[in-house]
Structure formats: C-alpha cells, structure tokens
C-alpha cells in the first residue's frame, strides 16, 4: 500500500519542531507500524537525510518503550495494543497518517518522536518498591494471599509504564500509571508495610513533575495498551486520603 506520513521532526530539546510530510510506497499490510517506520528510515538514509528518531525495544508489547500518537490516538487506532503490535493491515492504501510524540510538560521531546519519560522513573524511585532487608529466603507459600487479591495486584502490575495514559489524558495526568504502581503493592501484604508513606511520596513526586490532575474522563484506561482499570485510581485516592489522615508523616 502507498501512504502519506506526516511526522513530527524536532532536532533537539531546545529546537522548534514541525510536521514533515513523507510519501511512502509499497508497504506490506503484514508489517508492524515500527517496521513501516524502519522502511522509511532506510529510504531516508539512502537519500542522505536524517532518519526519524523513535523509541522502541522489545517489539513484542511488553517493554513499554514504544510510544507514538498516531492519527490522534495513543498507540494508534487499535485498543489494547502497543505501537509495536499495531500492524499496517489496520490502515488503507492512500491513507495519510499523522505521527506525533507524547505531549506533556513532564515528557519533554528529546528528538523527533522520542520523549523523556524519566519523570516516571523519579515517581517510581519515590516509593514504587518494597524494601527487602537481608535475611534468609522465605518459604514460597509462607504468606497466604487470596487468589482474588493476587489477581487484582497482578492486573495492576501489568502496567508497562509506556505513558499512553499521560498522552491520552486531556490534562496530561499520570494518575493511571501512578495508581497502578501504588495499588499493585498496596494490595499485597509485603507492600502494605510501607503503603502510607509510599502513596504520599509517589503522589507528591507526581505533582512535582507537573502532571495534571485526574478529571475521571477515562481516556487513559480506554487507551492503555494493557487495560489498566480506573479502579486503581479510585484505590489510590482512597489510599492517599487515608494515608494523609492517619500516617505519622507530618
């Protein structure tokens, strides 16, 4: 199929960017979206032009590196799909495809389609972990966890941290990401120990990074490639308000 691509090109963090149009011919419907961009980059290299910079790593939908705002949707038009798992069969011959980077003050554009998502790392570092002190390895089934709780915690843990929630949210809010990380640990006995301090610190860091507030519009969950639920946001609100009311942190 033949396509017209409109791609955001930006030299570096401090330069102004713009959409540049590239015609692309003979794209197979079996290609993934990123393979289609690989083809474009090869053509650009042959023509002596700078290839389009975009993030990618595992290309099997589990690492969370790929991003891209495609035709007005985070990770493209298919639900429950990362950009790397999006295939060209979902597009038609003659389509014009607009490709933009995630847009958020907290995700500055590094180059072209690559944004700096280290704000997520700093939120994780603020409390998205369980402190394990040294000692013997505990027996696997020593701590009983009900199956329903384990399943919910696992569902939250499937968040790959890609940032599509921030990209899709009209407020560029990181609430879905942070809530998945908070509730994943808050539900489990190992995580409950630090639950109050964790949620306080992670929400504080989220606010420092300049993400917006949650308007409960649900765009994040609708565009999330791994289907993180809004229930996690409700749980984080509960955890946060409870922690603020009862924790020892003044």
């Amino acid at each position: 199929m033949d396509l017209t691509l409109k791609i955001w090109r930006q030299k570096d963090k401090n330069s102004a960017g713009q959409l540049v149009t590239y015609p692309l011919k003979n794209i197979s419907p079996d290609m993934s979206f990123l393979e289609m961009l690989d083809v474009l980059n090869e053509e650009l290299l042959v023509a002596g032009q700078e290839p389009v910079a975009f993030d990618h790593d595992c290309r099997e939908g589990i690492c969370g590196m790929c991003s891209l705002f495609i035709n007005g949707r985070a990770h493209g038009p298919e639900r429950g799909t990362t950009t790397c798992q999006l295939h060209m069969r979902h597009f038609n011959h003659g389509d014009t495809i607009t490709i933009e980077p995630w847009r958020a003050a907290a995700f500055p554009v590094h180059k072209d389609l690559i944004v700096d998502r280290s704000a997520f790392d700093r939120i994780q570092q603020a409390g998205g972990y369980v402190s394990v002190n040294t000692g013997g390895v505990p027996d696997a089934n020593e701590i009983a966890i009900p199956k329903t709780i384990a399943d919910k915690a696992f569902d939250a843990a499937t968040c790959i941290g890609c940032g599509a929630c921030v990209a899709a949210c009209k407020n560029a809010s990181a609430m879905l990401f942070v809530s998945a990380k908070v509730s994943q640990l808050a539900m489990l006995p190992q995580g409950k120990v630090e639950a109050k301090t964790r949620v306080e610190n992670m929400v504080a860091q989220m606010d420092v990074e300049g993400f917006g507030a949650c308007s409960n519009i649900g765009a994040c969950a609708a565009e999330c490639p791994v289907g993180i639920s809004l229930d996690n946001i409700a749980m984080m609100n509960r955890e946060y308000l409870g922690a603020k009311a009862t924790s020892d942190n003044v």
Partner: protein, 226 residues
C-alpha cells in the same frame, strides 16, 4: 507547608474538595427544587410566597446560606486552580487528536459547562435572590410575606430569560451526568456492587433535577402567562 495544606493543595486533595463540595451542591439542588415545586400550587402563589418567606427569615436557613456560598466558592476556586494546572501540563497540543474515541464530551468540558452554570447563577441571583433578600418586592395585602411569585411570573414573560434558564439547565444536566459519579471516584468510593448503581442513579438524578428546574420557566411562559 504542613501536612494539612500539603494535602489540600495536592492534585488529589483538590479533587477531594471538588467532589465533596460538588455533592453538597447536589444536595442543595434537591432542597431548592422541592421548594420550587410549590410554584405549581394553584393558589395564586400563596404556597410559594410562604416558602420563600421561610427561606429568607429562618435562622437555620440563613446560616446554611453561608455554608452554601462557601461551597460554591471552594468548588469554583479549586476548579480554576485545577484547570490552570491541567492546561499547563500540556503546553504543546496535538496536531491531530480524537478524544471522542476514548471519552465523553461532557466529561472533557466540565469547565465550560460549569462556566455556563456560573453565568446562569449570577443572572438567577440578580433575578430573584437579590429582590427577595434585599426587599425590592411589594407586600401582599393582609399577609406578612412579600410577593416573589409575581416576580417569577413577570420574569418568565421574557423569552430570553426562559431560553437562558432552559439552556443552563441542559448544561447543568451534562455537568452532573459526569460530576455525580466522578465525585465518588475521586473519593475512592468504588465497589463492584455499588458503582453501577451510583452511575445509573447519577444519570437519573442529573436528568430529573435539571428537567424539574427547566419545566418551571416553560410552565410560566406557556401556561401561567398566556
């Protein structure tokens, strides 16, 4: 900042304020609508004037009036602070964006709907609250109360007011359809048993309350004043 101001200036804390004041304002709407229904008594405004006299003079109501104003002020103030923050969180927008694929129009336009409601509120206070409270009304012969009913009937002779009131109530309906259930989400009050009920109830509540208010100007314009 101490822990208290930190909490209420955080994004989640501000949403807590939005949800609590929002639900409080919902309860006010119920009281206000129930009182307004006395307008439909076929007694030349006797029941409505008695009710408005009570509302203007009862000390408990007068105290709640202050709480109500505070409720509005906190709701509006935090809405402005949050909106400014949310706009700043995305300084550069998308060239192409299709939010209708992932969210409802009303949920994305709460600020616009709220602004329409605020403009309505100011007009509405000027129409009825100011004359009722600061005594620009005529007394009713042989009664201790003033005639707010005739003020209502007079105002709704004007088709511009009727249109403004009805349009504002449509905005109110959409504001509440998102706002009611959203408040419970912000408070963290979700449960697989109760959330579906809260959502259905919220829609019914929003439509019925707004419809109840919107009928009043239409009733006066088309029936009483004909």
């Amino acid at each position: 900042m101490n822990w208290f101001t930190k909490t209420f200036s955080s994004t989640i804390g501000r949403k807590l304020i939005m949800s609590i004041t929002g639900l409080f304002l919902c309860s006010f709407l119920v009281v206000h609508l129930v009182g307004n229904l006395t307008l439909f008594y076929q007694d030349g405004g006797d029941a409505f004037n008695t009710y408005s006299h009570f509302m203007a003079n009862n000390p408990v109501i007068r105290t709640m009036e202050i709480v109500l104003v505070l409720g509005f002020l906190f709701h509006i103030y935090d809405a402005i602070v949050l909106t400014r923050r949310n706009k700043a969180a995305r300084p550069v927008g998308y060239a192409e964006n299709h939010p209708q694929e992932n969210s409802n129009w009303s949920s994305r336009n709460m600020g616009l709907l709220g602004t329409i409601i605020l403009i309505f509120l100011l007009v509405h206070l000027w129409n009825f609250f100011v004359p009722a409270r600061f005594g620009e009304l005529e007394g009713v012969p042989n009664k201790e109360y003033l005639n707010l009913y005739s003020e209502v009937a007079y105002a709704f002779k004007n088709p511009i007011y009727v249109a403004l009131y009805v349009i504002s109530m449509v905005a109110l309906a959409f504001h509440l359809i998102h706002g009611f259930q959203s408040a419970f989400q912000s408070l963290g009050l979700t449960h697989r048993k109760y959330t579906p009920f809260i959502k259905t109830f919220g829609v019914a509540f929003s439509v019925l309350i707004s419809l109840g208010f919107a009928i009043i100007p239409l009733y006066f314009f088309f029936f009483v004043n004909m």
